[in-house]
Structures are given as C-alpha cells and as structure tokens.
Symmetry: C2
Subunit: 521 residues, 2 copies
C-alpha cells in the first residue's frame, strides 16, 4: 500500500494499523519517495525507538534513510508490549495501593478486590495502544519526513543490500536495531507450559484468565514492576531470585538505604520475596500448577501457583545478521559495537537492546542518533556507562550518581542529606512528601517515601541522588546532567524550588550550604 | 519552658505543640543558650520559611541568631494553613477526579459523592499537621543549632531591641518576616458574615459544615486551587473574577495555549468561571446566602451559595514595624527592600511575603538566606523577577521562561515543540502522558495533558517550557536553572531521559536537534 502521496489522519492510521494487526491488511505499508529511486544512505532494520530516532536524525542531517519494521507501526515494542503497558500497570498499582490503604475511609469506598482484574487492564491497554502506534507513524511521516516500510520483514542480503517484500534496496550503511526478548533460562524445565508468561506474551496473545497467585522467576526490574502490580490487584505474588532484589549486576548505583526502603515496602504490601534460591522447574501437566525451587538452605520445595511470570532478563536475536554479515557478537549474542555504534563490519551499525544492557529508552534512542551522526560524517561517541535510572514498585524509585557507600569509598569526606534523617524511625516523620504521597503522609507517615543526596565536602559537588516516592523521575534527568557538569551544593541552594517539591534537595542543600565545612543533615 | 538542655523526640514535640495549641501550655518555648547572654547578631521576627532559613544560614555563617514566633512551632503558615493543606486538597482533587471519570469501571467502584467531604479533609489535615510542625522544631534545634523562642509574641522596641515575654534582647540586626494574610477588599460588603472563608479560616477555626455550593471571589491561584478541590468533592463552584483566569498581574509568563487547556479543563469538570465581573456584596442575614455580582454586560445578579471563599490576594501586617522603626512601605503596606533585603533603616531587613509578590516558598527562604549573607558581611543580591511557577487544578500546571507569544516578540525566529501538535484535536492523541495520566490516556485521551517548549533558532537556546499534567514540577526547578545558564536544544537532545518522562522535552528536542535550521514539532 503506497502511502507516500496521501496524508492519513490519526483516526485513519489507527484503523489501518488495527486492520493490519487482525490480518485484514497483509501488504506492506510503504512511505517511499519512489522518484528518488531505491538507493539509500542508510537503512535501519527495525523501527523501534533506536531506528526511529536514528532515522529522524539522519533525515535532519540530509541523509536519505529508510526504516523497515515487521510490525505495521513504528516505535517498536515499547508502546506495544513493554514500557507503556508497564507504566499503565504501575500507575494502576499505585492507585490500587492508595485505595487499599484508605479503603472505606474519607471519600474512598471499600476496596473491592474482585474488581481488580489483571485481564481488564491488559484489555484496556490493547484497546488503546494503536493510538500511540498511529502517532508514531503520523509524526514520522508528516513531521519528520522519514521514509519507511512497515508490516514487512527486512532481510539483510549483504552489507549494501536489504530485501523487503521481494524488492532489493541498496544502501551505503545498515543500522541493526531489532531489539531483544525475554531470556528463557534453558536450565529451568517446563517453561513452555501453559500459564507461563513474560511481559510480551502477557499482552500478546495475552493472559486470558484471572490468576489466583503468581510466582515470578527472576529478580529483574520487570519482576519487581509487574510483581508489584499483580500483588496490588490481589494476586498474591512470590518473587524467586538468586541475588537479593536490586543487587543484580544489571542495576548499578543502588543505595542500600534506598534498597531497604523499597524492598521492605514490597513485603509490607504482602509480597513474598525469596532470595538466594534457584528455581528448578515449572510443575504441572499441560498447565503450570507450581514452581519447584531450591531454597538458600539447599532444601527443595514446590510453590503452588496458576501463573508463572518470567523476569529473567533479555537476549537479542542476532543470528540472521551473523549469518548474512559475519558481525561479531558476544557470548550471549549481543552485537559488539564501539562508542560510535560501529560493528566489526564497516558500514554496519547496531543500536539499542541488540547491543546489550541497559535496555532503556534513552540508550536506544541515543544509539540511533549516534549511528546517524557518524554516518553523516560527524565523529560522535556515546558513553552510556553512567546514566540515571528508575523502576516502579507501588512507588517511583529513581537514582543517579554514587550511592553513599560508593561515595565513602571514593571520596575522603562526604556529606549526606536525607529524609527521614538517619536514626529517625520512618513512622515518626511524614516527610518527604509531595503530590502523590500527601495522603500517605497524613494517614501512614512511614509510607511517604525516602530520599538522600550526597556531596563531596572538598569540591562541594553533588555526587549522587536517590528517591522513593512519586514525581521526582522527570527531575532526575536534569540532575544527571547537572552532576556531570559538576553542580555544587552552593548552586543547588541558590536554585528556585517549586514547593512542595517531590525531592527536597534544593532547600535541604540550602540549609547546609552556608557552612564552610559541610555537615550531614 | 526552657528546652535548651533537653532533646525532645518527634512524638514529644508533637505532644508539646498540641498542648500549646489547645491552651494547656501558655508559656514560651525557649531554646536559648543562656550562657551566651542575651545579645545577638540578628533576631528574626517570625519563624516561617524565611526566618527559619535565614536563621539556619546565619548560624552556618557563625552569627548568633534568635528567631521568635507567636506560634508554638517554626515553619510558619505553610505547614499550618497554606501550602501543605493546599497540596493535600489538590492531591485529593486529582484522586477524586480520577475516580469520577473511571467510576464503576475497571477496579473503581461507583464514586460516592456523599462521601467526598471537605470537612473530613480539613480534619485529616489538622490531625496531622503537628508532625511537620514537630519536625521543624526538632530539626532547627537538633540539626541546625538555632536559638528560638516560640509561643510568644516579639515586640520590636527599636532597631537594636526586641522584647519577648517582658524580656529585652539586644541585637545588631533585625529581620522582619511576619508574612501576610488574605486581602479583604473593602469595597465588597458583607465579607464579615458567617459562611465566608479564606484559606486560613478554612482551617482555623475551620469550616464546620458541608457546603452545598461555593462562590469564590477573586481569580488568584488560591481561587483556582481550592475551587478545583471543592468542585471535585461535588460542591459546585463558581469563580467570580475581574481578569480572565491566569491573566492577572500576579502571574507572569502564562502561555495562551496552556491557559486555554487549563481553563477548558476546569469548565469540563463542571466549574463556572465568570470573568470580567465585579463582586459587590455577600448577601444573607447573619450567614451568607449568596453573592451579588455585576456581570461583564453591566447587569447585576445574585448567585446563591452557602459558602463564600476569598481568593483575592494577600496583604502584609507591617504597621507595628512602621510605628516602631519608621521603615518605608508601599501603598499596600509591603515593606520596601533592595536586592539585599535591606529596608530604609540600616540594620533592619525584611523578607518573604512581607515584601510583596511572589508569595512563594522559594522566595521566602532565599530572602532569609540573602539577609543572612549580607548580615554576615557578604554582599549578596537576590533577583526574583524571573522564576519557575506552578499551580494546581486537578492537574499540576508548571511553567518557566517565555511564552510562545513573548518569544515571538523578543526573538526573530523561534521553534515551538509541543504535544499535542498544533492543529491536532486533543482527543486524537493520548500524548503527552506519564505516571499520573496513564489512565486518562487510555480512557479519555483529551484529558492527558499539554506541553510546549520554545527555542531561539539563532542561539538554539531554550527560552521557555510549559506543562499541564502530573509529575513535571520537580523538573521545572532545574529547567529554570538550565534556561538561565543558556541550555541549548543540542544539550537537551543529548541528555538521558527517564522514559516515560512526564514532559517529553528531551526526546522531542532530540528529534529536531539534528537540523541546522530548527523547525517546529
């Protein structure tokens, strides 16, 4: 279907995507300027976050680009099966949590657990997701002037040739960005049974029954986020994890006080978190009925459940590219790239989840931008070794920079500013607090959150910031930038806070900035 | 009561403050190091935000300070009657709004309007407010080493003498920070009737009946915030305002698109907003039964109500200081100060709401810091002509820097990046969205918010940012700093976003940053 000379409205795009998804439209959706032929400066394989942002940047820099995706929309897995449903579910978890704690008080009616359906939320998401899909297609065409082919598989023939729909396109460069999917640990038996899901299969084909309990295998962010949601709906959830939660290699800079607050609060909501264990097998005939696990003390037990969920990390699908191009990959299959996103083969780039952790949006998008800039002749390097991070439980948990322990190791003399203050019981103080935690503060102060920031006393520079609560996530993007620029406690103290700010760092810093020799607060 | 050599716990402070409030403890609460005599470098009259932060800074700089407050706690009106209850009420408004739109769907039971009680929320606040009060006293003593006298009036005798409780204290400097209270317009009759409240009397003595409707006189932030809350509880609210909402002198940099989104959404929730009118009189025998108002077309009408609320701005109480010290004040009574917070009398400073708008926390606290630094011999100026700002409706509304119109006037060539894109109906797109607006996005996309940022094409610098939604407030503090530092679209585009970020400025900027000549998005 040639869409190049038409301009679809948002509702028209939504309809078209829907028809493609249900199999009414099987042909490719093409937005190609045929008057320019079939030769490109760069072809992006995969139109997820990285491919789309790389395409936009390529186009802005005057390159002719093409992006190809097997799905009928650009934007990739995030708005289809990953970050967007996760945010919807995490928001639901937070709302349900508020409604449970305040059940039958104030304006809250009695919380009706039988109404809190996981399946309903999945359905709500699936009914709505074509709107963001439509927007990606609309924006990419109408505002960003990209060329694309959707609803069609791209086959890499060689380093200058890509075949789509039987047609061959030539290109000077190829950028691989086909993402990853859940790692299915081969040593755990029975993961192919009915009743075993990951974040993607939860949505497509989709959970089609209301589970009575959940056992999560793995202790990743996904485990914590989806687990907190299931628990909030009343589906009792057990997390089986080898490493202590938030002490996995994939998460860096986790402050121990923050970790304790987060994990304690998950347990307080009724979750079982079994650390140091080894899940062995999903038991049951055709359907899962439980998980056999070896506990930390070496004994084995079966935890009964009708819903097993995998939070075991991600693996890429790189074999077709290895076969076609001979690019180097690591032992897990992730493509090896340098800081310019260049693979071992000149002219071939790889971006996003395909090159490994962190599997985060900023990385995917900036990988795309980095590849585009280098292809356009600008030597540009992207170092994603240090970045701000977050996860959800029923809270937003955000962090950037050094933990207190890391700072103590690396600096002679540091100052820690935190709330509640060290040594004060959480329940004694209704702080920190702001939009999203006010009602916790006034009903159960111990639930209102935790925060900490750390300064180097010598340079007076901010080293790290850590927050549990609501509403600080957006700020941590800028705190990351400011930490890298060397922001000091004096500059922080002279900023203009918007009270009641979710993290109270500006004013708390001001309370100490007057000191020549900094002291804790 | 001499507290200097004791160390009260948080619960002990809460109890003591409670006893003082109910009249069980009438004596002054003293935390003074008597071994050092009664001579101070600076005495702060009023222990609100400005006095407390000024005291902390003075102490940090090695000055001997004393702060005196008539209330039995430090922190002033904010945690007692102003910003903290406002935030609790605004959070309740947001939650009720969510529960109304989703009533009897998903996990939401039918919204029971009869449960949504304004009086209950006031009671909840009053039961809890002594916790933050206690913390201010605890922190100021145990962590900040301030000296203070609470539960006692300070009388300024002359520029070097303050009397408290019959005792005279001498000082080199005095900092006045006694705040302001609601302006009662003398031309409106009947404002002394029962049933007429402002934000302070709403709390103390407190609204003691459940009103059936509300008429708000004035169009200030307070009017919009409290009005949105009353409306959310089911108390139908009418705002009577001379200027269009958000087009008052006291609010600067209000983007017209943002304003329209905000006001349209207040009306969509059922509020009546009558602009261009002149409230004349609260009618009724002893109790208010209505408000007589002259409408924009010159006709008069009476709007019936059992609850009148004043959102008419603030006036300071400066007469005692004029009488004692002869300081200059303006025609409204606000103390005139220079950028160092110095009044017309050497050694006398004034800070916070007492010196006029903006009546915001950052200004009060930084005024205190500014006075302290100058008293300590450091010439320091505080310019609060430009600052980030916010208000609540059922949304958080935040803005900083120039509006689109202002930017067009001041710069030759600008780029506007906004969501929804110009010309696209709000209902066509479920963006912007993030924590706090996910459910709007998936049920009623037109409610999910609005955002805009503006760049100068020549310098590529960020000029302004505007947001309606949830969760962006914290970030706007740092955006204010970054705008002043001259942040460019290129630097924005290279930041690390935490997806789904409430404002999508980083990634949207990245989509355009590749262009040598910037274009709208």
């Amino acid at each position: 279907m040639d869409l190049f000379s038409t301009s679809l409205s948002m509702p028209e795009w939504e309809t078209l995507i829907h028809r493609a998804e249900v199999g009414d439209v099987n042909e490719a959706l093409e937005n190609i300027d045929r008057s320019k032929g079939t030769e490109f400066d760069v072809i992006f394989i995969g139109g997820g976050a990285g491919g789309r942002f790389g395409s936009a940047y390529s186009k802005a820099r005057g390159l002719r680009q093409l992006v190809v995706d097997k799905w009928p929309f650009l934007g990739g897995s995030c708005p289809h099966q990953a970050c967007v449903p996760h945010h919807l579910f995490s928001e639901a978890a937070r709302e349900m949590d508020y409604m449970r704690w305040n059940s039958d008080t104030l304006w809250f009616t009695k919380f009706e657990e039988e109404r809190a359906s996981i399946v309903d939320l999945i359905d709500l998401f699936k009914r709505g997701r074509n709107n963001p899909h439509a927007f990606m297609n609309w924006q990419s065409k109408e505002q960003l002037d990209m060329e694309y082919i959707l609803n069609a598989e791209a086959i890499v023939i060689d380093k200058n040739t890509v075949e789509v729909n039987g047609e061959r396109f030539t290109t000077k460069n190829i950028v691989l960005g086909t993402g990853s999917s859940t790692f299915v640990p081969p040593e755990i038996k029975g993961l192919d049974k009915a009743g075993v899901y990951d974040y993607a299969t939860l949505i497509d084909p989709g959970l089609d029954y209301e589970p009575t309990s959940c056992v999560i295998i793995g202790g990743s962010k996904v485990a914590m986020e989806y687990g907190s949601f299931y628990q909030a709906t009343g589906c009792h959830t057990t997390i089986l994890t080898r490493s202590p939660l938030m002490r996995t290699k994939s998460l860096h800079h986790i402050d121990e006080d923050l970790r304790r607050y987060v994990v304690d609060n998950m347990r307080l909501r009724g979750m079982d978190i079994i650390e140091g264990c080894e899940p062995l097998e999903v038991v049951g005939e055709e359907r899962a009925t439980g998980v056999r696990v070896r506990l930390a003390d070496g004994t084995e037990t079966i935890i009964e459940t009708d819903f097993v969920f995998l939070g075991t990390g991600e693996r890429p699908h790189t074999q077709p590219f290895v076969d076609a191009l001979g690019i180097d990959v690591d032992e897990k299959g992730f493509v090896k790239v340098n800081a310019r996103m260049q693979t071992s083969i000149p002219g071939i780039y790889a971006i996003g989840d395909l090159i490994g952790a962190p599997m985060e949006m900023f990385k995917a998008r900036k990988c795309g931008m980095t590849a585009a800039r280098n292809i356009a002749g600008e030597p540009f390097e992207f170092d994603f070794s240090e970045y701000p991070d977050f996860l959800h439980t029923t809270y937003e948990v955000t962090w950037v920079g050094l933990t207190e322990d890391e700072a103590r190791e690396q600096y002679e003399d540091i100052t820690v500013i935190q709330m509640p203050p060290k040594g004060m019981p959480n329940g004694d103080i209704a702080l920190p607090v702001s939009e999203g935690t006010m009602l916790y503060a006034f009903t159960r102060p111990e639930l209102s959150g935790f925060q900490k920031c750390i300064y180097d006393n010598h340079s007076r520079r901010l080293l790290g910031a850590h927050h549990v609560g609501m509403g600080a996530k957006d700020a941590f993007q800028y705190l990351d930038f400011l930490i890298k620029k060397g922001i000091t406690i004096d500059e922080m103290g002279e900023m203009n806070e918007l009270f009641i700010n979710p993290e109270h760092f500006i004013q708390l810093s001001r309370l100490r900035a007057g000191h020549q020799n900094l002291v804790d607060l």
